[in-house]
């Protein structure tokens, strides 16, 4: 029996869903953009890790768009049905960004130490 109306006037669930959406899209764009730009310095070898990062980012977008896959009902507050199931999706998101940061660091330091 899901309450069709959110009870908190601050719409926390909706705001969180939108935050996931824009972060997921930024992740996809970041993976593709950084992959494309580091290809100039590191060569075509970056295509594979960049492709994996972009695929994982698309997975995050898909999982968070369909709320049920990443979210569960709160045990005490049944109308909150979008609480994170656990830390797996944030963990994957962090891993993607750390991977992009390491790739960019490799590219920059390749030019710093010729």
């Amino acid at each position: 029996m899901t309450d069709p109306l959110p009870r908190d006037p601050g719409l926390p669930q909706e705001r969180t869903a939108l935050a996931w959406r824009r972060t997921g899209l930024a992740l996809v764009a970041g993976a593709l953009g950084i992959g494309r730009l580091t290809m100039e310095t590191l060569g075509t070898g970056v295509l594979l890790p960049a492709g994996i990062a972009a695929a994982l980012a698309l997975w995050v977008v898909g999982v968070t768009l369909r709320g049920g896959r990443y979210a569960a009902a709160h045990p005490d507050e049944p109308h909150f049905d979008r609480v994170l199931v656990d830390g797996r999706v944030p963990g994957v998101v962090t891993a993607i960004v750390v991977g992009l940061a390491l790739g960019e660091l490799a590219s920059a330091s390749a030019q710093l130490i010729p």
Binding site: M1, D8, G10, P12, Q13, R15, T16, A19, W20, R22, T23, A26, L27, G30, G33, I34, L37, T38, E40, T41, G68, A71, A72, A73, H74, P75, D76, E77, P78, F80, D81, R82, V83, L84, V85, D86, G87, R88, P90, G91, V93, T94, V97, V98, L100, A101, L102, E104, L105, S107, A108, S109, Q111, L112
Partner: protein
């Protein structure tokens, strides 16, 4: 509402399989509004990290007229700052969730200072490199 039947997803929340155990192993489920706010803070840090990395990649790839070495140094500073922001996003999310579950004080924000210094340092590198180009 008198219906006490657990919803289908209920067991997923109380299960001991929730990862990581350091967060979910102990404590009680906090107010969902606080968990959601913690999620949004995590996502804001992730977007900050992505923005820093996007600038680092752009500075690395596009000619700015300040020299290749200066651009590489600028890019390195920005990428390191982005890395700190990303690691902080995860650490802060997990430690905050842990603190809320166990009714402990919230973790501090030491990484905020590191990110502030990183962005400031990038500004100094850009300023010095531009001035040196201008005077040369």
């Amino acid at each position: 509402m008198t219906d006490q039947t657990p919803r289908p997803a209920y067991h997923r929340l109380v299960s001991s399989h929730r990862w990581p155990r350091s967060v979910y192993g102990e404590g009680v489920e906090p107010d969902p509004r606080f968990s959601l706010a913690n999620e949004r803070t995590f996502l804001a840090w992730i977007r900050t990290a992505l923005a820093l990395l996007a600038v680092a990649a752009a500075v690395d790839a596009l000619p700015l007229g300040i020299g290749v070495r200066a651009q590489a140094l600028l890019s390195t500073v920005l990428a390191l700052t982005g890395l700190v922001a990303a690691v902080h996003a995860w650490r802060d999310w997990s430690r905050t969730e842990q603190a809320m579950r166990r009714d402990l004080p919230m973790p501090g924000n030491a990484a905020g200072i590191v990110v502030t210094v990183g962005v400031g340092l990038a500004g100094v590198v850009l300023l010095v490199a531009s001035l040196m180009r201008g005077l040369a």
